[in-house]
């Protein structure tokens, strides 16, 4: 089992050395040499223009038992602060690690900080791995994927979980390719198969019409992105902090570099749809941009954010960042109030996993009522002011 090199065919072009994600190939004394860093990922085989490299048969068999151990959560962070989904995944990851009788760790790339460690105080996290290189700079997909893949190759976790945020969904597919393993997107359920110890990854597909459970049987790590707000963060106990394990990684190669020109957070466009507990969403039935004023008032009363259907966005009543649905964002708040939204399949796909759904619509036959828990049949212009008045009374 291993990487085979036909030295007679090899032209010493060096492409394999360059393409190896793990730095496992070296050119020594007129020959290409494989080091123990090799994971048989096959990137060099693919890159070799002379077809001098091959992987010996049987190399892709079942992973050696015990060689891959531990559950990892990707520590998505912005300026050293972890994204809320990281804590949710620590909650789920701890359950999985218990079932597998292995440690749970958080892994990230960038520059380790004391704040990162202290944010994990009292949580069931054994180690915080940080793939470090100053040249990693501000977050960018390609160099961070490479750093994370290096970390994975060195420490071999059996499972790697990340939030299905915009970043997680861009980064993880790259990591999966570098590790030549499977990745399941947007999971809403994770479990361990009691017999095989495999990670059972459950996710909605076809707009939530079916659920599929997926396994990665022969490849490691088993990778999954998980929807924010589905898992529950664990409570903190004690003052223990994880062991900080800083792992120096090579400087990213220049051809992968993406330059960040500006990173602007325009206040009016800062929309936290996927993190909101309460969402008030408006559709075509609002009749115009002014209709969102009433929705904003209701959102303020309930402490929520504003969402919208595709129709309202396409009409130009509200920016795209607010769009919920298949071509917008998938949300899962505790309370979703759909106002003047008929509830096309494409919209329902983005919100039907919400905790409680309330629909306000003049048409009693609107499909939105099929997924709603409570429906008010009536004109929102009459219903919402009454609702806001009632809620304010309750507050007092």
């Amino acid at each position: 089992m291993g990487l085979l090199i036909e030295h007679e065919t090899c032209t010493l072009c060096g492409l394999c050395v360059e393409k190896c994600p793990y730095g496992a190939l070296q050119q020594v004394g007129g020959r290409i040499r494989v080091t123990e860093q090799c994971t048989l990922c096959g990137a060099c085989v693919e890159a070799c223009p002379a077809a001098a490299l091959s992987i010996e048969e049987g190399a892709a068999a079942a992973p050696e038992s015990g060689a891959w151990r531990g559950v990892w959560v990707y520590g998505e962070h912005d300026d050293g602060r972890f994204h809320p989904v990281v804590f949710e995944l620590i909650g789920k990851g701890a359950q999985l690690a218990r079932a597998l009788n292995c440690p749970l760790s958080v892994a990230t790339a960038g520059v380790a900080s004391g704040q990162m460690v202290s944010e994990l105080t009292g949580l069931p996290v054994q180690s915080l791995y940080v793939a470090e290189n100053k040249a990693l700079g501000p977050y960018r997909d390609a160099p961070h994927a490479r750093a994370l893949a290096t970390l994975v190759q060195r420490h071999r976790p059996e499972a790697l979980l990340a939030g299905a945020t915009a970043r997680g969904r861009s980064l993880m597919p790259r990591v999966a390719v570098l590790c030549r393993t499977g990745l399941t997107a947007d999971c809403t359920g994770l479990d361990i198969d009691a017999q095989t110890g495999n990670l059972l990854q459950t996710r909605p597909a076809f707009g939530g019409n079916i659920m599929a459970t997926i396994e990665t049987r022969r490849h490691r790590p088993q990778m999954a992105t998980v929807r924010p707000r589905v898992m529950t963060p664990p409570s903190r106990r004690g003052t223990a902090v994880p062991a900080l394990r800083r792992v120096p990684v090579p400087e990213p190669t220049s051809d992968h570099l993406v330059q960040v020109i500006s990173r602007a957070v325009r206040e009016e466009e800062r929309v936290h749809l996927t993190e909101a507990d309460v969402l008030i969403a408006g559709g075509r039935g609002l009749g115009g941009a002014a209709g969102f004023e009433l929705l904003r008032e209701l959102a303020e009363t309930l402490g929520g954010e504003i969402g919208a259907s595709r129709a309202a966005v396409d009409a130009g009543w509200i920016p795209y960042a607010h769009q919920v649905g298949q071509t917008g964002k998938t949300v899962q708040p505790d309370l979703y109030v759909a106002v003047g939204i008929s509830g096309a399949l494409q919209h329902r796909a983005g919100m039907q996993s919400s905790g409680t759904i309330v629909a306000v619509n003049t048409d009693p036959n609107a499909p939105i009522f099929q997924v709603a828990d409570y429906g008010v049949v009536g004109d929102y212009r009459a219903v919402l002011p009454q609702l806001i008045r009632r809620l304010r009374q309750e507050e007092r």
């Binding site: 790259r174 570098l178 393993t181 499977g182 399941t184 599929a212 466009e269 409570y374």
Partner: protein, 261 residues
């Protein structure tokens, strides 16, 4: 300048059928459309073609009927369509799909830019675009809402992040995935539809794509669907259809009972 748009032919219906034995989706017999987000990638390609006199190739992998999506892309203005189709490609997951597409793109030799929709509406994974970029070793610019400049060997894109917006610049060749925000796709004229009907689609099988055969299709896919089920239905919807004042009061009471507020 050569631009490749990767597109997907997706079912246009909620009627989903499953091959219970293999645990894969049966796409035959279900009417298909061009994946809506891919239409924005196609539009972006066609606009760049007009600006930079680029050559645009629409590329897809799928069963023979996926050709329809390519014809749609041609009707929207793409120059040529390439269909990767072979029983050996069937059952591919996102790793294998992105690998096969990357092989085909590499084989074209002179590609400067790959455009994809953010995700397909059947799988919703958003993994194939970044997967292609990773297999090719190219930079990726995902969730693009505006292409601010292209030329001189670089591309600059304004993209949506979890934290707001950012503008990033990458060296070409690169992969861009499109948000709906990127543009408004044109409506093809009857004439362009008719010529797209007659256009020749280039078909390539597993023997034509230079790559490791073991990475194609079901065999090259690390993930396997082990179970498919329908989600548990939500309970009945309680309707309040009285006067607004009464309906609001009833709703607030119900939400309080559920401890939502």
């Amino acid at each position: 300048m050569r631009i490749v748009v990767c597109i997907k032919h997706v079912p246009d219906t909620a009627e989903v059928r499953i091959d219970q034995e293999r645990g894969t989706l049966i796409r035959e017999g279900v009417p298909g459309i061009l994946n809506p987000l891919d239409a924005h990638a196609v539009e972006a390609a066609v606009r760049l073609k007009d600006e930079l006199s680029a050559r645009t190739t629409a590329l897809t992998m799928g069963p023979p009927q996926a050709e329809e999506a390519l014809r749609e892309a041609l009707a929207h203005g793409c120059d040529e369509g390439v269909l990767l189709t072979d029983p050996a490609f069937a059952g591919a997951d996102t790793l294998s799909t992105s690998y096969t597409l990357a092989c085909a793109i590499r084989q074209m030799g002179d590609v400067d830019l790959v455009l994809c929709g953010k995700q397909a509406i059947d799988g919703d994974t958003a993994q194939v675009g970044p997967g292609i970029a990773a297999h090719l070793g190219w930079p990726q610019l995902t969730y693009a809402r505006r292409i601010t400049s292209l030329g001189g060997g670089t591309i600059e894109v304004e993209r949506m992040t979890d934290y707001g917006n950012e503008t990033i610049r990458a060296k070409l060749p690169a992969v861009v995935t499109a948000l709906k925000d990127l543009n408004v796709p044109r409506l093809p004229s009857l004439v362009s539809r008719m010529s797209a009907r007659r256009a020749e689609i280039q078909r390539r099988g597993a023997g034509d794509v230079e790559g490791e055969r073991s990475m194609f299709g079901l065999d090259g896919s690390p993930t396997h669907v082990v179970r498919v089920f329908t989600p548990p239905p939500r309970g009945e919807c309680a309707i309040f259809d009285g006067e607004p004042e009464q309906a609001a009061a009833d709703l607030v009471r119900a939400l309080k009972e559920r401890r939502i507020i």
